[in-house]
Symmetry: C2
Subunit: 295 residues, 2 copies
């Protein structure tokens, strides 16, 4: 993938950068001037929040971010409508649809308590959880995005008290998977279609959606590998069933229903890709009744 | 629902309780003695972590929790195998499969830095993200659960530094929806089958899975209501497509493909349930090209 998603090795959340050049050379934010790094085809991998848009809101754990275009600086104001098809804006919509993580960089400006006094601070990975169009303060149509901080990250220290959103806290957070680079690779390898049923879901204006499913789970205690040999490209229904013990995979790579032990389908494979048997065996071993019947 | 999921009104994360009776009367943990409150049919709504099992691990943001049964106190040891079909254990597996939130209560004990000196502390809602069987320290088969703190909650203050799990942080967290009570209601109303395609997914040993889909999104700025008139019972594939602008719903409640504007299916309804037109119109308005063609 040309575009790099996620936090570059060696970069820490809360790390300070003197200027745009430092952000660029650390692969934190590549463009020299643009606030959004991204395209419709690849998605957006980073944004800079620096008070250049009068309608921006910074709540710490989430941002209401204004898209690209139609503004002037000194004084900051919108002087024209924005277009959701402009590359940066279309990129953020793709990141929403595909659940791509977006690096958020805060630049010095007065209007956010989370912004640094000077320079730039890398604020970690956020998910685009919503987008919409509205009429901004200056009377023009603007493209708006809600980005929510991805949890389980080291937070910026010292940080002001974070303003959470009760409606989100009590209920659904973004349902899409926060993919690793390898998971994105497997999805592209299969052009976002399910290795079990062949379905390829489509989102807004034809954007493709699939999920990278780790066969042996990541994290303690399973410690599954984030490698191609442990990943499948699946639709949400088959990914869910794999995760909840509704289907299992035989050593000859046939997906089986756990209830009936009837085949669902034989997995389809691309030349470059196989999942190894240890991982499918580990997945079966997680579900005792499956382990018995499968052995 | 007989069983109450989520944090009871007026109860705060970090709140102290003198004894089991106080936990009981506050609806934080109902059983008088059992560590797990739950059944296979309903799921588990709360657990107490109090050092009664030698294999328990408390990492703050997540727990490795030992299931019910086969242990003795003073000295704490396993003296028999555990059974995943025992009610509390089967309840936690149902909570994993259905993504039900589990209240975690920490009781005073030496082995956890997060436990109170005395009495009990309500530690908020956790998701069961994994379960498996293993041989415990005392040589018996035990049922194990990983529970991860649900983010965006007020955390216990003052709290020790939290030990995060890098593999989880960098990648997938539980993909299942953290439902509200109303979302659980709509799923039960439709017996966990999709209102668009009729599919009812099955997990381990026949456990049912569906998702409660809010038509007008929750949270700022949309402020959709967490009411039946704003909820559909959907399979993950149709829920995903609704969320990413791949399908929209007409005023006469037909699900339509956004690309072709061909009908997917007419939504099926139970007597007690309708979604109101303002909410489906709001959903369409989130996707400009849909709004145009639908109007």
């Amino acid at each position: 993938m040309a575009r790099f998603f996620g936090t570059p090795d060696g970069v820490k959340v809360g790390q300070f950068f003197l200027d745009r050049r430092e952000l660029q050379s650390a692969w934190v934010h590549r463009p020299g001037r643009a606030g959004i790094s991204g395209t419709k085809a690849e998605g957006a991998d980073s944004i800079v929040v620096s008070g250049g848009y009068v309608d921006d809101e910074d709540h710490g754990s989430y941002l209401i971010y204004t898209g690209h275009g139609g503004n002037q600086r000194r004084p900051n104001k919108q002087i024209a409508d924005q277009d959701p098809e402009a590359p940066g804006n279309a990129g953020l919509i793709t990141s929403l649809v595909q659940g791509l993580p977006v690096r958020v960089i805060r630049g010095a400006h007065a209007s956010s308590p989370f912004a640094p006094r000077a320079g730039y601070v890398y604020s970690g990975l956020y998910s685009v959880t919503s987008w919409w169009m509205e009429t901004g303060r200056d009377g023009f149509r603007i493209v708006r995005f809600r980005l929510d901080a991805i949890d389980n990250q080291t937070v910026v220290e010292p940080a002001p008290a974070i303003d959470h959103d009760p409606a989100f806290a009590s209920a659904v957070v973004t349902r899409r998977i926060r993919d690793t680079a390898v998971a994105r690779e497997v999805k592209e390898l299969y052009d976002f279609s399910c290795q079990i049923c062949g379905i390829g879901l489509r989102g807004f204006e034809g954007r493709k959606y699939a999920e990278g499913a780790h066969v042996r789970p990541l994290g303690r205690p399973h410690l599954g590998a984030d490698h191609l040999e442990n990943l499948l490209c699946l639709c949400p229904n088959h990914h869910t069933q794999l995760d909840i013990g509704g289907i299992w995979i035989s050593d000859d790579m046939v997906a089986m229903y756990a209830t009936s032990h009837e085949p669902v389908a034989t997995l389809s494979w691309k030349k470059r890709h196989r999942v190894n048997r240890e991982n499918v065996a580990y997945h079966r071993s997680l579900w005792p009744s499956i382990a018995e019947l499968a052995s």
